[in-house]
């Protein structure tokens, strides 16, 4: 028994564990798999959270299709298309960043992450212009709706959903920029190689989800007919 105890203690004293390894896992592979499982579970919760809004959208749309049709005409489809393209491209560069990490290509990670962050910022800037346009026009949710003409009953409900859905999505984009910057700094320190790139991959999964939700938001909000 003493021998077994010694063995366990001895094991801990080994300094050959890489920096990223946490002692409560048996090996690096298990740690990676666990992180991935946790991340996908988290993505499931994200989907259900957005899902509440999608359900609300579906019900309200089925009740007031005219209001939604009228509401979407105040949106600029071109800006929606631009943002869709920007986000999809950022998803591509994110995937390439993960791939660069898998192949220990430090320069590749950094460049791809920079492009991803730039795209995210472009997205938010476009969103800012859209929001401020609506703010000035009075195309606002609920009691704040004050657009002078073309009142269709319940159009303010469309804008409530528009602002809630894009707002929650925008918060996710903002958080994403923070996360991307964090892994960018780590990548510049050379932390990520083919031996360890869990953080890049996890942030990547998050970023793809943000893209995924936009893929649904775009036709639902901009292309109602």
């Amino acid at each position: 028994m003493a021998q077994a105890v010694d063995e366990l203690k001895h094991d801990h004293k080994h300094d050959e564990h890489p920096w990223f390894f946490h002692h409560h896992f048996t090996d690096v592979q298990q740690q990676f798999d666990t992180a991935k499982l946790g991340m996908w579970t988290f993505l499931a919760t994200e989907i259900l959270m957005f899902g509440g809004l999608f359900v609300a959208y579906a019900l309200m749309f089925s009740m007031y299709p005219e209001a939604f049709k009228a509401g979407h005409e105040h949106l600029n489809v071109n800006l929606g298309v631009v943002n869709t393209a920007v986000l999809i491209f950022s998803s591509l560069t994110m995937a390439l960043a993960v791939r660069s990490a898998q192949t220990s290509n430090k320069r590749g990670i950094i460049i791809n992450l920079l492009i991803t962050i730039a795209c995210a910022c472009v997205f938010l800037v476009v969103k800012y212009f859209e929001y401020s346009h609506k703010y000035h026009e009075g195309l606002l949710p609920g009691i704040f709706y004050s657009f002078p003409t073309d009142y269709v009953p319940h159009i303010e409900m469309y804008f409530a959903l528009y602002f809630m859905m894009t707002g929650l999505h925008g918060i996710h984009v903002t958080v994403g920029i923070g996360l991307l910057t964090w892994i960018l700094l780590n990548a510049m320190k050379g932390k990520y190689t083919s031996a360890y790139y869990t953080q890049v991959e996890m942030v990547g999964l998050y970023w793809h989800l943000v893209d995924l939700i936009w893929i649904y938001l775009f036709p639902l909000l901009y292309l109602v007919s």
């Binding site: 105890v5 666990t34 946790g38 919760t45 994200e46 259900l48 609920g142 409900m157």
Partner: protein, 551 residues
């Protein structure tokens, strides 16, 4: 590294460092579990005092100690604290956090940082929610139904935002446990050899992860509805107030299984240990937990039978609700069969388990008339519902929680409590509980509506009996607090395995060392292999595993 004086292991209390900072920054699941434990017990005390106030107010007809407005605030706060701050985190986050990695034979949960993070989120959420009462109070009831929550005064947004934050704590705990159970089981702990507590916690975590996000978005929409008047839940603006109830109960009905499943999980551990007999129907109990979790998502409409929901939807929900009775019944029969011809010892945890069986069965059976559409129309919003809910939640979950607390108390603190006082307290709680709530079944069936500040003279006697019951209940808990606190100072040192259990937590010292096990625990023996001969020892890896004395 800890030095090791052959047999005299240091516990995690010493090994993890001293002082307050060693707790604030800890990543150890055992310490986080204990921090949760202290917090939820505190919340239970606050919620309990509010409950006593409610009962005291109802002792006599007419105003007694509270104004009608205060009364509304008190029952709202009682509900919100007990549901969101006590009972949901009570078992998984406190006892589960402490015990789950031990049962799985692993060193920690999958994501220790997320674990401590979830604790701090819990604290912040609780502070925000309770602050609402200081800054003006909330009188909507814990369900925040629109239009009360959008129209009434008070700090509804604070309270709702606090609950919103608490939800994230719950999600993170569930996520952590799912990953832990999937990936961190010790070699030999397969899915079919995992202790049933883990199955219960797993099913609970599934619900936490799948349902809580919907609560988050619901509460967010409620806040925006209140602040901006967007009208999704407001019929005057083209929305639908019943829609809020759909959103709310999509989370909150599964949430009652977040509350009861861990309780059932504890009972599944206590009963075989104190009957010294293999659990009857391992697979049935494990699978019925998952079945309850899934069916629990299909029945939320039974809270809305008289809300204006369509008759057809009510019929469907009513039918589906009956299905929940099947897995619940399976569990009760299996526990009873486990005790049959077992060598039963009536220690305190077992007394709680037996109380659970009795009270939960009453609670479950009174759910059936409530699930029946026609009967429910009569009983809805009466004390019958209050009594049913408390029989399941308090008689079920809270009793199981205290059973688990007594069961693992020696493991957590390294001390034994006074058995005589513990049995006395258990008896008082059992009697007090029944006196309080059995009368409420009668009150309810006679038509006493719930949440009312005042009542007609014919209800007074029963209300007084119920209030006296609440005092007995309070006395029981007071005694419990005193002997548990006393045990920390004067209690006898606990052996590694005071109850003769076979699950892995009993193979390590009490309290366990920082990394849970000084030596690889023996997973050759199944968690319920009572009376099965010990498999041959492999030299150096296991020692005295069955009636484990590791010291």
């Amino acid at each position: 590294m800890a030095d090791n004086n052959q047999g005299q292991h240091k516990s995690f209390y010493e090994e993890g460092g001293k002082g307050i900072m060693s707790w604030v920054y800890t990543l150890d699941h055992k310490r986080i579990g204990l921090m949760y434990l202290v917090s939820v017990l505190l919340m239970f005390a606050v919620g309990g005092i509010l409950a006593l106030l409610i009962r005291l107010e109802l002792f006599r007809q007419g105003p007694t100690i509270l104004t009608a407005h205060q009364y509304n605030q008190v029952f709202t706060l009682h509900g919100a604290i007990m549901v969101f701050m006590f009972i949901i985190p009570a078992i998984p986050a406190s006892l589960g956090n402490f015990v789950l990695p031990l049962l799985l034979g692993t060193k920690d949960v999958a994501f220790p940082r997320i674990n401590i993070f979830s604790y701090y989120i819990y604290v912040i959420g609780a502070i925000i929610a309770i602050a609402s009462i200081i800054f003006g109070g909330v009188d909507t009831g814990w369900t925040f139904y629109t239009p009360y929550s959008t129209g009434s005064g008070g700090k509804v947004i604070w309270m709702v935002f606090g609950v919103f934050v608490l939800g994230f704590s719950s999600i993170l705990t569930g996520l952590n446990f799912i990953a832990t159970i999937h990936k961190l089981r010790a070699p030999g702990i397969t899915w079919s050899r995992m202790p049933l507590f883990c199955w219960g916690i797993y099913a609970t975590s599934l619900i936490q992860v799948l349902a809580t996000p919907v609560l988050a978005i619901t509460l967010l929409m409620l806040i925006i509805e209140r602040a901006w008047g967007i009208g999704i839940f407001d019929p005057a603006k083209g929305g639908d107030a019943v829609l809020f109830q759909h959103f709310f109960w999509f989370y909150s009905h599964p949430a009652v299984y977040i509350m009861i499943l861990p309780g059932m999980a504890i009972i599944s551990e206590i009963i075989p240990t104190f009957s010294k007999k293999a659990i009857f129907g391992y697979k049935a109990i494990g699978m019925s937990s998952v079945a309850i979790a899934i069916i629990g998502f299909l029945v939320w409409g039974h809270h809305m039978f008289v809300s204006g929901q369509s008759q057809f939807a009510s019929m469907v929900f009513s039918f589906l609700t009956y299905l929940v009775a099947i897995p619940s019944g399976i569990k009760v029969f299996n526990w009873t069969a486990t005790m049959y011809k077992g060598t039963i010892s009536l220690d305190t945890p077992m007394l709680y388990a037996l109380s659970f069986l009795f009270l939960f069965t009453i609670g479950g059976l009174t759910g059936i008339p409530l699930a029946a559409l026609s009967v429910d129309v009569h009983l809805t919003d009466t004390y019958f519902v209050v009594a049913h809910f408390h029989y399941v939640m308090m008689g079920g979950t809270v009793i199981a929680f205290y059973g688990g607390l007594h069961y693992w108390w020696p493991k957590m603190t390294g001390r034994m409590y006074n058995e005589t006082l513990a049995r006395l307290a258990c008896a008082l709680v059992f009697i007090g509980f029944n006196v309080t709530f059995l009368t409420q079944f009668i009150l309810g069936s006679k038509g006493m509506p719930r949440r009312y500040y005042d009542y007609l003279p014919q209800y007074q006697t029963l209300h007084q009996v119920s209030t006296v019951g609440s005092w007995i209940l309070g006395l029981g808990f007071l005694i419990m607090v005193s002997y548990l606190l006393a045990s920390l100072k004067n209690g006898a040192l606990a052996p590694a395995n005071p109850w003769g259990g076979l699950t892995l937590e009993w193979q390590t010292s009490s309290p366990p060392p920082l990394h849970n096990f000084e030596k690889q625990p023996n997973t050759k023996i199944g968690p319920y292999d009572y009376g099965v001969p010990v498999p041959p020892k492999k030299p150096g890896t296991l020692e005295g595993a069955v009636h484990g004395t590791s010291s």
